[in-house]
Subunit: 217 residues, 2 copies
């Protein structure tokens, strides 16, 4: 029974890693489409983003089946509840990446990013793609040190998000409303994407250290 | 055992309704603060929004305890997994309402809504508050007809959300970037708020009709 349960937990973990790997490709393509004018990358991101919902739902069904068959308690139960949360986060990340790709799509052949914010969005994009890669690694190896580093890197994303608003609300900003809308939303999407990365990594920390506080799931 | 489980399910439901009632007050205050210049309402919304996280986490802990003690299967198990999702949605709704209140707070004593969008945001706000009230009612009475109506009303929210962009991207829009940023984000927050309402109500539909499809949780 115990061995079967461990096998099923591995299956859950493998599926989380698989979805995370898909999300990496999607956010990588989406941000490349958004920061440059590579519309083919944006299209690839859009085409793949929808499929993540189905994969996340299939994973949830698997978790529910394991809960029903094994009736786990204590830490095992929490691992499965966390898997449901992680699957939800990964689904939202794919959806946010899809929104970023959609902005690039709408603005093509023009770029959605005005010159004044090119460096900011380049850095923000590189950061979130790197964070997504680290999330997959954390899920694969349940690496607590890496989970902590992720939380530190998210702070830089928040800084860049605030910087976008500083630029847009400064006297020097002379772009039209379309640019203002695009960069406002894109920055928000990237910030939320990084928030989900942190949520996933913090759950992995708890699972590995076994240090569950009463107020954390 | 069965009777105890039913009692525990009622406790879960009562807590969901209680959190939903709190969220109604928060979104009502937040939108009143945002659409008018009643900064006291915005402050009330901000003060209450944070507390929802703790209530949602406490509810999740209760659900995990019930799962551990009762090891439910089939529909009972799905009800509890849905409760976790609903609690997550309610938490996000409170957070989104808090963001709307924060915009009103920043712009006080000025209004965050320019004249050209006053009617749109008034309607959108009334709609989402009404939707939040209906969600609480659906959770209380597991009323499937009401759940269906909610899904229809969400379409109007999406329409108004698109209208905000039409106005902002039209040639007539002459407001500064601050207004553009504020209305873009506020409209996005209200749209997401309504999305969560729909997610909650669709779960209640499934629970009541027992009509679970393999692809819905």
């Amino acid at each position: 029974m115990r061995e079967m349960f461990q096998q099923e937990l591995h299956e859950v973990q493998d599926r989380l890693v698989e979805i995370a790997d898909n999300v990496i490709t999607i956010i990588d393509n989406a941000t490349q489409g958004f920061c440059g004018t590579d519309v083919a990358k944006a299209d690839q991101a859009l085409a793949s983003a929808d499929a993540i919902s189905d994969k996340a739902l299939a994973l949830d069904e698997l978790v529910i089946r394991v809960l029903a068959r094994q009736a786990p308690v204590a830490r095992d139960l929490r691992i499965l509840v966390s898997a449901l949360r992680m699957s939800n986060s990964l689904e939202r990340m794919a959806s946010l990446a899809g929104h970023i790709a959609a902005i690039a799509r709408y603005r093509f052949p023009a770029s959605a990013v005005p010159e004044a914010l090119e460096d900011t969005f380049d850095e923000m994009s590189r950061l979130v793609v790197r964070l997504a890669r680290k999330t997959a690694k954390v899920l694969k190896n349940t690496d607590v040190d890496l989970a902590r580093k992720i939380q530190a890197e998210d702070e830089r994303v928040d800084e860049l998000h605030r910087h976008v608003f500083d630029v847009v609300l400064s006297d020097e900003w002379s772009e039209n409303a379309m640019f203002t809308v695009d960069v406002t939303l894109a920055s928000r999407y990237l910030e939320r994407f990084a928030d989900h990365v942190v949520e996933i990594s913090s759950k992995v920390s708890y699972l590995t250290t076994g240090d569950w506080s009463e107020t954390e799931i």
